[in-house]
């Protein structure tokens, strides 16, 4: 019989070869630091990309009223000084910048071009945040790569498909196709009066460590908070009903606008804290929930004033089922955590 006559390969040899092949495959194809991924990243840095990144940097500095130079450009792009010099020369050749005594100034054309890139970048961030569920820490990095590949028509389509969004997920305004931006508003959190309630309208996403800290405190554009105390090394806040402490550096990265105390009630609990049989009245949805997720919850009836009753817990404890406006809806605990309520004093007999 042919099958039996064949020799069975030595299992140890086979396993060893297999392990070797697996290691080689990992070195090549591992997402992130595999060889293939590295090659792709290197290919991204074409000349056009460098020029556009340069323009963006110059625009950012101009918007912040800070001077720009070849060195600042080199630093921002992570390039050598000589490369930065060649970028500046190219930009000047194409009339996108003007070289003044110790400053690099954008021409009108250059500014319009830069605004288009900024628009694309922020639209991509919005898209990544709303439609693809990319992690927040990745929005900026991925948008950095994606912003260079689109034609004007494609950018217009992208904006249209999302209904011409006004702000990116960090709270930065998205310029219109004509380059129009709204007037700047808001003040830094550190400039707020103690005891004042405010809504966060912008969260600076660099440096990454501070951004992470801010997000961990549950602070996003749209979050309501109240400044409790301002000390030299600590900033005390109540964030959507929970106390938090931030370091001043992080607090400076937050831009807020004042809201009346009545619109920002802080004596709230989370729906997540209720047990089966208990009831709560919705105060509002946390600012962390935005876009389509917020609308879905609103359409299900989670609006201020709705009475929600906890009906069931699932076999694994998560999600829980709630009676909302007559229907029983199951929500994950992470979502229930974003629903701010006032506990009801009495609970109905189960």
């Amino acid at each position: 019989m042919p099958e039996i006559a064949l020799a069975v390969p030595n299992p140890l040899t086979a396993l060893a070869l297999f392990a070797g092949a697996a290691v080689v495959l990992a070195l090549l194809a591992w997402p992130g630091w595999g060889l293939i991924a590295r090659l792709r990243r290197a290919g991204d840095l074409s000349e056009r990309v460098r020029l556009e990144d340069g323009l963006k940097h110059l625009y950012t500095l101009e918007a912040a009223a800070m001077p720009s130079s070849v060195d600042s450009l080199a630093g921002a792009l992570g390039a050598s000084r000589s490369r930065a010099v060649s970028i500046v020369r190219r930009l000047e050749e194409t009339d996108l910048i003007r070289l003044e005594t110790d400053n690099i100034v954008l021409t009108d054309e250059g500014r319009a071009y830069a605004l288009r890139i900024v628009r694309t970048h922020r639209l991509w961030e919005r898209y990544l945040a709303d439609r693809t569920g990319t992690a927040p820490l990745e929005w900026h990095a991925q948008a950095e790569r994606l912003e260079h590949g689109l034609s004007e028509d494609q950018v217009e389509n992208l904006a249209a498909s999302m209904g011409y969004p006004l702000y990116d997920p960090h709270g930065d305004p998205i310029p219109t196709a004509a380059g129009v931006l709204p007037p700047a508003r808001g003040i830094s959190l550190t400039a707020l009066e103690v005891g004042q309630s405010a809504r966060v309208i912008h969260v600076e996403d660099e440096p990454e460590e501070l951004y992470r800290t801010i997000r961990r405190a549950g602070i996003h554009p749209g979050t309501l908070l109240r400044l409790e105390a301002l000390e030299p090394t600590r900033v005390h806040l109540t964030v959507e009903g929970q106390p938090h402490v931030l370091e001043p550096l992080a607090a400076r990265n937050l831009t807020v606008e004042r809201v009346p105390a009545s619109a920002a009630e802080m004596g709230v609990a989370r729906l997540d804290s209720l047990h089966p049989g208990e009831e709560g009245v919705v105060v509002r949805l946390a600012g962390a929930v935005q876009g389509a997720q917020r609308r879905r919850l609103l359409d299900l009836g989670v609006v201020p004033g709705t009475v929600i009753r906890v009906e069931l817990s699932s076999a694994s404890g998560d999600p829980m089922a709630y009676r909302i406006r007559g229907a029983v809806i199951a929500l994950r605990r992470a979502q229930a955590d974003d629903i701010l309520i006032r506990r009801q004093a009495h609970t109905e007999a189960a």
């Binding site: 086979a14 609308r295 879905r296 609103l298």
Partner: protein, 750 residues
């Protein structure tokens, strides 16, 4: 992952007929167009079936993977076409379903819109109702599930609701058939103008909303004078509704003005298009919009929805009475407690699954044997004789009847009975309301691996048929999580693979226990492998969501409808017909060619032996390495089309290659032996060991999807890349797992 922006397309440009064609409604001999809208779980499909009976057709909305049903009925000399819109909670474009519904109502301009409202959840349902009433006047509200309401002690006064809403309200219990004749009458009456609804519109929104509307209305009036629902359009624009925005820019909004309206400029727009250059009214409108939108408060939408619900609450309080009776409500609650409790929830679920498996296996045995006898034992020789009388050459006879016909007959005999039992059972559970509880219980597991809870449902569907499981993933809104569900659906052990598992388990594991336990061992083996498949599904989902499909979890909101006694006979009937047709289609389209290929490679001789023999020899080294053999590998290659023919092919190839005479009907013809021990002997004689048996069971679980599933995946994802991943990843995994098991087995054994 998703890197290219979506393209714009122009819907609603031009006349209503053109709009309808683009929305997928073909012109025909109908004269009244009705849209059926409503929240999910309101019994809308029951109403649809009751209205249209068997004269309906299911398909997809153009360009989208959203199911669409349309049908017709005749009443009073009119032919009425009914289009079933997807169940939605509102008309905001939060999901594809809502987009589809909104587009149809806005640009399809149905003659009548029927809103199916659940009498037991009136308040929530009124949100959508009020939104629809903002778009169109010609509405009929069907107050469905009145019998449910009575059961729960809720009384709703249809006349009072009619007064509040200003449109006809028809009480109904569509499951019992009551209310449907009155609905037909009302539809025709509203369409012909015999009844003129005067909907009470939401005249007052919260003050900030009113202010914003007021800022934009003059510009809308300047750009599109005579627009009938200008306030609604204003709201949609302020809410950044992309379709309405596009419509404003391109001039399609003109399509919303009914023909013959007072506005003299309507005809002008329709023919000459709209001027949206600088300084034109449209451009001014867009500028005004940008301004207003920058100034809107961030919780504008919250306020809007809160206002809608306040109105819904007021109306409900005026028309509804609760607490009339409390019979049987406790049964619902008790059942829920039992099915979702920490201690009984999962055991009951596994028990139910095992029960469904057992009923399917046991129930399919006899019909499968009967079909096999009929199609194969009886009809096959008839066909061969027929061929002989016609004077067909031997090879043609073989190709047609031994290859193509046998493969098809096998698929039908093996597949039809289990599917005809499994899917009706599944639909019964769905009708009953149990399936959402399954997703409810299992969500945490799926959450931990980065997937969506509804994947539990698609996984269960996959136990019947993987292609059906892939289609079922439409319930998952997020594309990323949907892809995860699609790619891993293959690890649900589908009906077609159960015979392989049972047979191999009986031969290699069943012989280890006394005969009377062998049946239970078989069932247990299948359940065990199925659970192993679930583990793999969770594991692969975890890997996918950490590498190529990284992302955040999306909203998981699942409605748990009340338990309802399922409509037993209707479900049986429709499910049976559906499934039978699909199996027959699949058998013909995929199995027939497969049968041809199998016969050809087994009977065409090259250099002294058949192609199949060469292939087996060539594949043998690889096969032995991973603990299988060349016959199995070749069988799986040619049986890509359908899993059911794997065992017959294996037997045929074994006999062919092993050169055993006197077994089976002849060279190159698939067959099955009558007794399990006989098969066992045959295989063991050809070198099959327990390792081969175990690895075959593993490989059967982990190999590539069948061709129907691959085809369905492509249709659902429209992406060659992801279809390839879904096809190749399981087979790669299968090869690796078999390889590792073989080495470890040999290390331990040797």
């Amino acid at each position: 992952m998703i890197a290219s922006p979506p393209a714009a397309n122009c819907r609603g440009c031009g006349s209503r007929e053109e709009s309808l064609v683009q929305l997928g409604v073909a012109p025909g001999n109908w004269d009244i167009l009705v849209a059926l809208a409503g929240n999910p779980n309101t019994g809308k499909s029951t109403v649809f079936n009751a209205l249209t009976g068997l004269r309906q057709h299911t398909g997809n909305w153009p360009g989208k993977t959203v199911t669409r049903a349309e049908g017709t009925f005749k009443h009073d000399g009119h032919t009425v076409k009914v289009v079933d819109l997807p169940g939605t909670y509102s008309l905001q474009a939060g999901s594809t379903d809502e987009e589809v519904a909104r587009d149809f109502l806005l640009f399809g301009q149905p003659d009548v819109t029927v809103i199916v409202v659940d009498a037991t959840r009136l308040e929530r349902n009124l949100n959508l109702t009020l939104q629809v009433l903002e778009v169109t006047d010609r509405v009929v509200v069907l107050l469905n599930l009145m019998d449910e309401a009575r059961r729960h002690g809720i009384g709703v006064d249809p006349k009072a609701l009619e007064r509040e809403l200003g449109v006809p309200v028809i009480p109904a219990a569509a499951r019992q058939g009551t209310g449907v004749p009155e609905l037909r009458k009302a539809i025709v009456a509203v369409a012909t103008g015999a009844i003129q609804p005067r909907p009470r519109r939401m005249s007052e929104h919260p003050p900030e909303v009113e202010q914003a509307i007021g800022e934009v209305l003059p510009a809308i009036a300047a750009a599109y004078p005579g627009l009938p629902n200008a306030r609604w359009v204003a709201l949609r624009l302020l809410n950044a509704d992309d379709r309405v925005l596009q419509a404003v820019r391109s001039g399609e909004l003109a399509a919303l003005v009914p023909t013959g309206a007072e506005a003299p400029t309507a005809a002008v727009w329709a023919t000459a298009g709209v001027d949206s250059g600088e300084g034109s009214p449209v451009a001014t409108l867009l500028d005004a919009l940008v301004d207003s939108r920058w100034r809107l408060s961030p919780d504008f939408h919250d306020q809007l929805t809160a206002g809608a619900f306040a109105e819904a609450e007021r109306i409900t309080a005026a028309v509804q009475v609760t607490g009339l009776r409390r019979v049987r409500v406790d049964l619902d609650k008790q059942l829920d407690r039992l099915l979702t409790s920490r201690w009984t929830g999962f055991p009951l679920m596994i028990l139910l699954l095992a029960l469904v498996f057992w009923i399917t296996i046991a129930g399919a045995n006899v019909p499968s044997a009967m079909l096999a006898t009929l199609l194969i034992d009886n009809f096959h020789p008839v066909l061969q004789g027929f061929g002989a009388t016609l004077g067909m050459p031997q090879w043609l006879n073989g190709l047609l009847f031994d290859g193509m016909y046998l493969a098809t007959a096998w698929v039908i005999a093996v597949m039809l009975p289990p599917m005809a039992i499994f899917f009706p059972l599944f639909t019964l559970l769905e009708d009953f309301g149990y399936l959402p509880r399954v997703a409810f219980n299992m969500d945490r597991m799926f959450q931990r691996v980065g997937a969506h809870g509804k994947q539990a449902l698609t996984m269960c569907m996959g136990f019947g048929c993987n292609a059906a499981g892939v289609v079922a993933t439409r319930v998952i809104d997020s594309p990323r999580e949907r892809l995860v569900a699609i790619i891993t659906n293959n690890f649900s052990l589908c009906n077609g693979r159960w015979p392989t598992q049972i047979l191999i388990a009986s031969i290699f594991l069943g012989t280890l226990v006394p005969a009377h336990l062998a049946g239970i061992v078989s069932a247990a083996a299948v359940v065990g492998i199925a659970l192993l498949g679930v583990l793999f599904m969770l594991g692969v989902s975890w890997v996918l969501t950490r590498t190529v499909l990284k992302g955040e979890a999306t909203t998981f909101s699942l409605e748990l409808p009340p338990y309802r006694p399922p409509r037993f006979w209707q479900t049986m009937y429709t499910s049976l017909i559906d499934r039978t047709l699909i199996v027959l289609w699949r058998a013909v389209v995929f199995a027939l060619p497969a049968g041809a290929v199998i016969w050809l490679i087994s009977n065409i001789q090259v250099g002294g032996s058949s192609i199949a023999a060469h292939a087996v020899e060539w594949l043998n080294p690889l096969g032995i390495l991973i603990g299988l053999n060349g016959v199995i590998l070749l069988a799986y290659v040619v049986a890509i089309p359908a899993n059911e023919i794997v065992i017959p092919t294996i037997l045929m190839l074994t006999v062919l290659v092993g050169g055993v005479a006197g077994v089976g009907p002849g060279d190159g013809v698939m067959f099955e032996l009558d007794s399990v021990p006989a098969i066992g002997t045959l295989l063991r004689e050809h070198g099959w060991t327990t390792l081969v048996g175990v690895n075959l069971m593993l490989f059967s679980l982990l190999h590539n999807p069948c061709s129907t599933t691959i085809y369905t995946i492509y249709k659902e994802t429209r992406s060659v890349r992801w279809t390839s991943v879904a096809t190749l990843m399981p087979v790669a995994l299968g090869l690796v797992v078999c390889f590792l098991v073989a080495q470890v087995w040999r290390l331990l054994g040797a």
